[in-house]
Amino acid sequence: MGKFFAILLIIITLVSVYPIVTHMWWMPEVVSAHGPAVDHQLDETMIGSGVLFITSQFVLAGFIWAFGNHKGKIKNWPGGHRPVVAFGIILVGLEILSLSFVGSKVWASMYITKPDLNALHVDVQAEQFAFFFRYAGPDGVFGSIHPDKINDGSGNYFGLDPENDVAARDDIVVGTLTIPVDTPILLTLHSKDMIHNFYVPELRIQQDIVPGIDIPLHFTATKTGKWEIVCTQLCGLGHYSMKAYLQVMSKPEYDDWLKQQSGD
């Protein structure tokens, strides 16, 4: 029975590792400036923890093979527990140290460093079960948000008051996040009802959108194309269908698009 268990354990380990090694199901392409660093960090962690996973399952299998139904004299681990404890602490300790140092830098570059001063500012409103995106328009100033004026029926998703608020009059509100490539983008995330989330797997970025808090998020897209923005925070019955698109355009295309929107 020991040998059967050991062989089963080795098969399970190898079969588990195979799709990872061959990238059978893997991350989608990366399209943000910080993304490759995230991927690198994930790869490093995968190698470190993969070695630990395979080694420890194989050792378990080996011991079960060797000592299953073993009847002879009991043997203790040579050298006692102290070297094993020290080995465990040092091995994991080193892994933790390296992961923490490198990982914190990656995290800091995404969430702690300030956004570029010239970043293109887009306002995001999330609601059950849609995203809306707002651009400041030719005046470069966003109109203020008035929760009491929010009305989906009339399309006033942000609660703007163009009658009394000059800055709000030229604000552009769209359903697709359209941005120029290679340009720093700064989002301000608002939610009017539940906690939602802004997740674009290709951007390697995820951020909750919390009612009552304006949360900044910045990134730079490095490729043109169209990708899904999905909600990852349970927000109600339509959660699974809450999505929008991220459209990354070349700079001239974006300028044309913006002009078109302002003209409407």
Binding site: G2, F5, L8, L9, S49, I96, P201, G212, E228, T232
Partner: protein, 592 residues
Amino acid sequence: MHDMSAEPAVHHLSPPQGFIRKHVFSLDHKVIGLQYYGLALAAVFIGMVLSWLMRLHLGWASLAIPGLQHLSPNGAPGGVITPEYYLSLMTMHGTIMVFFVLTNAPFAGFGNYFLPIQVGAEDMAFPRFNMMSFWVTFVAFLVLIAAFFVHDGPPISGWTSYATLSSVGGISGPGEAMGQNLWAVSIALFCVGQLLGSLNFIATTLDLRTKGMTLGRMPLSTWAWFITACIGLLAFADLLPATILLILDRTAGTSFFNPAGMVVSDTLLPHSGGSPLLWQHLFWFFGHPEVYIAIIPGFGIVSHILPAFTRKPLLGGMRVMIGCLIAAGFLSYMVWGHHMFVSGMNPFSAVLFSVPTLIITIPFTVATLMFLGSIYGANLRFTSASLFCLGFVSVFISGGISGFFLAQPSIDTYLHATYFVVAHFHFVMAVAAIFGIFAATYFWMPKMIGRMMNDTLGKLHFWLTFIGVYCIFMPMHYLGIAGNVRRYASFTDDYLVPLIPVHKFITIAALLTGAAQFIFLYNLIHTRWWGPLAPENPWEATSLEWSTTSPPPFDNFGGRHLIVHQGPYEYNAEGAAQDYVMQTDPDFVARS
């Protein structure tokens, strides 16, 4: 068998008379332990069927499940699960499993039964509290299950019940009116039950140990229950007020979790001044220690059972394992923020929470190495119990490894809320803890019901379950890496559609693995009435539960006051007459 007819019973309560006092409102910790176990057993099969329904829906979204429309005409018209009913099933699955299975069985169930016996006590310190603890928990369970039968169905906000989905009332979605109220009341009651239980465990461990039962001679299972009780006392004392605040927000118009300016369904809500993040802090300050409440008894159980089947003490002895468990328990209170890396809290704090989270892998790595080192050179006996112990080590390694990824905010920003997380916590706390429960069941059931379980069926149960859980949860890692978001009722998004075949595979594996659990149920029920009678010490083990009859009498030791002379794991001790020395053996002198 010891002669117990000559000595008078020393239990300060006389044995109960009548069915009600004996089997229903019993003060006997053994009956209460079995009641907790029975409740967990009912809960785990309900939870499992819920997971089947979820899995079926994920694989085949338009599938009509015969009969389901009778349970919920609104949630499953014609037997087809609606997206909101999927969320209801998910919420109930998580809540039932985490609270009523993973907390009840390994801690309240086995702990109640064996902690007093293992320390040589006749009962818990506060038998009436103990009884109250179970019955409050039972009512909590009924209240939760009642959510299936109220008009708007069970809540849809997940077992974490994040505000504001959970805190603004029925306007936020189906199940968020009466269903969510019932959830909150149920959890509050559950907290009361656990607080009473935890107090009892701590007092019993500290005050009721028999002569010679020093802390250093306490079995590791008792140590683990004691540590878990200390964690639970703090954790449930946090969740109780949190759920009360939630109930107030929902029913009394307060704004603890609700900020100003919320507009739901084009209605401006009157709340102001609250924060949805407050709920997350309060919840996870409970929630992370709760994970350890589920798994630390598993470590104690495996540490206790493995030596009986390796015929040697654990590598590093008691101290290393106790140290690991205490360290893990202590650190569990410093890491709650790792559930909230992308929640909108200050990004600096993510770094602060990440480091202790990674450090927590150290005690668990050391504990796992101690298990591995204990198998080396052993006379490993294969029984259903020992197989589940070995399986525990394997699945805990698999689940622990993925923690390295999620503990890092920079990777969590990609993997957060994907199936990678689902794979991680199912392996590390659910499957590992369930394996601990199975090991404990096969090991202790002869003592608890006085009959031996069928070992062949037990082993068949193990092989099917072991292969099954890997088929279910390993592919979830791949889904997560591919960006598959969790808590989605179906996959309409373009980028998720190619992953549906993986979901179908997982569903089939879940159905088969679930079906294998009926072998266990059959074995358990058959044993209860028709199994061969169990001897006093079938596993040639050493601790006090094996120094009394199977099952033990009302006062546990038939009027004897046991005196403890040995540590709990004197297996193959040098100079001993046989390969194990009972804790009560006065003659053997350990060489140290």
